[in-house]
């Protein structure tokens, strides 16, 4: 066998494989996972590629273990990721919470399928968007990206690693079965053209080091295990020393920071794409595969003379509240196509705050919307 390093050039690959290659380009050298349709190809690609770049693939006994193993690997100083779909995503919620509490950089790819339960294993869905936001118990903020193409699967995985290191948080790549299984051109730039965010390391001696003493941006520097800092970290509510403190005050101090380190840095984290929103009467707001169908529908509606804009959410969480608020003042309505019975539409409606209508275009899963359905909704919105 011959050994390849990181790939460079133009490739024809599906979204799952592009997520794996994005991980390789981002410096991910540890993948722990469990086979699950339609995310299995991410694991298969990692099993093939990681040994070639000096990394480790381990197939765990379940998704609970997979999530834990990547947390452990990240604390050992190695960039780590996993990939799953609905049922596995549910199992990962437990230790996604641990990752948030310990402030552990890592990446979790969810190639969404239709649920609930085993649902439609081989067919698409976007039903995990609220689970991505609220799925683990307790209070927290999260970062989730939603790729619309294999090229974005590649790029978003790199971006997810960078955000996870910068904000010390597990970052979710919320793709779906269609994006995961469609094959398109993916351009992989040379390593020197890829910007990677390094881990923020302590600048004080082990004696002075406090594992949860934050910098000005609310993110604490992170020592890795085995570096001599002899730190303790816990999933219990803790103080700056990492020691458990069972009081309402400690809870307030810690949880406020965990939420604020994301919410106060929204301007840096959120990426959206706007097209033709100025002067529009209606704006279609969508993400992932639904955004691609929406873009087609928007073109057709414009052919009919309707003034319609397109807002594509590249970052879904944290939610671009302010953008929606501002647009709501200028348009009649938002049209929100998504492959669920209304999740992101609830956020749009909340932020529009009655200034503009929100028209949900639901789809229960198993396929993408037909463009006609979305065009009809746009027509209704301007009527």
């Amino acid at each position: 066998m011959s050994r390849r390093g990181p790939l460079v050039g133009e490739f024809f690959m599906n979204g799952d494989i592009a997520c794996a290659e994005g991980g390789i380009s981002a410096g991910c050298r540890f993948f722990a996972g469990y086979p699950i349709t339609p995310a299995t190809e991410v694991a298969e690609r990692m099993a093939e590629r990681l040994p070639e770049v000096g990394g480790i693939y381990i197939q765990m006994e379940d998704e609970l273990a997979s999530m834990n193993a990547i947390l452990g690997a990240s604390w050992a100083g190695v960039k780590a990721m996993t990939a799953t779909s609905g049922p596995g995503f549910s199992l990962m919620m437990e230790n996604l919470g641990l990752g948030i509490m310990l402030e552990t950089p890592c990446v979790l790819v969810n190639i969404q399928r239709a649920g609930p339960s085993t649902g439609l294993p081989t067919l698409t869905g976007q039903g995990d968007m609220m689970q991505a936001r609220w799925g683990s118990h307790g209070l927290y903020s999260i970062i989730a990206l939603s790729p619309s193409s294999p090229q974005e699967c590649y790029q978003h995985t790199i971006k997810a690693f960078n955000l996870s290191e910068k904000y010390r948080i597990p970052v979710l790549v919320m793709a779906d079965e269609i994006v995961g299984h469609m094959s398109e051109k993916v351009v992989i730039p040379p390593p020197e053209d890829i910007t990677l965010t390094p881990r923020r390391k302590p600048t004080v001696s082990p004696e002075e080091y406090l594992p949860y003493k934050p910098d000005a941006d609310l993110v604490p520097p992170m020592a890795n295990a085995g570096e001599g800092y002899r730190f303790h970290v816990t999933g219990l509510t803790h103080d700056e020393r990492g020691y458990p403190v069972m009081t309402a005050e400690a809870q307030d101090r810690l949880v406020r920071r965990l939420v604020d380190k994301i919410e106060r840095n929204k301007a840096d984290i959120i990426e959206i794409e706007e097209d033709g929103i100025d002067g529009a009467d209606v704006v279609v707001c969508s993400y992932g595969i639904s955004a691609r169908v929406s873009e087609f529908a928007v073109e057709r509606a414009r052919d009919e003379g309707i003034k319609v804009g397109m807002l594509r959410l590249v970052t879904v969480w944290p939610f671009p509240e302010e953008t929606i608020r501002q647009i709501a003042k200028r348009v009649k309505a938002f049209v929100v196509p998504e492959i669920n019975y209304g999740q992101i539409a609830l956020e749009v409606e909340r932020c529009a705050g009655g200034a503009a209508n929100t028209i949900l275009v639901p789809h229960m899963g198993g396929s993408a919307h037909r463009p006609e359905t979305i065009i009809d909704a746009i027509r209704r919105a301007v009527r």
Partner: protein, 299 residues
Amino acid sequence: MNQNGSDEKHYIDQYLRQDRMPHIWCPGCGLGSILHCFLSSLIKSGIDMDKVVVVSGIGCTGRAAGYVKLDSFHTTHGRAIPFATGLKIANPELQVVVFSGDGDLIAIGGNHLIHAARRNIDMTVICVNNFNYGMTGGQLGPTTPLGARTQTSPLGNYERPFNLPYLAAASGAVYVARWTSMHVRRLEQTITEALLKRGFRFIEVIAPCPTTYGRRNRQPTGLDQMKYYRENSIIRHGADPKDVDIDLNGKIIVGKFIDTERSTYSDLLDEVVQRAFGAELLKGDTSKEKATVAAPAPK
């Protein structure tokens, strides 16, 4: 000043987080002596303390990670072993010890235990078995002896418990031993020996829990439980693990049952990668990537 009001330092003090004392464990609990044995073994083993990582799950024993002045992780219920697996195989230089309880490792974490043993992940697992869930007030668990009364088996337990050494050995552990918290000298020797060995090492330590278990089972104090261990423990090194079941207030077979050699997960992984890529594999690739992660951030 230590807790006794004297300035005299005990030799394990430097590895304990003095600022977290007093600990939460009840009078009569066995965890203090077991933690002492563990730290004492670490010192005797001569292992670089900066490379030692202690990982615990949830429960009374799970609090051990928080008391050691070493890199230590207090994780989620049952998940200490997969967390430790990630740590160990991502950085094989680490000496990884899982220190947790029977409810954590055997019930909710049972699947992870058997798979880590099967893979022969290079780690030491110290499983403190007090026959019940102490932290939540004394419910039955997968180690509760038949007939024992707990808060959730008020009529006496009618579930057959696991025999932990048998489970660990059958799953592939290369080192399996059992002591009680009364056998401090032997326990210390065993942990030291295990720490210096490679592969998945499993040590069960039977411990008193007078507060929630003993008092419902005719051993109301820690001392009663220690007396029971003294009168009923039988040292039988090399015993077949299938013969070391524990009956309610019955005999406890202790000793070293398994001590064998088998390639670890990382050994086999390295072998396969070497075979596939041989000289082509650029040594230091991983460390180069680690350097990326470890690079100091500009202030």
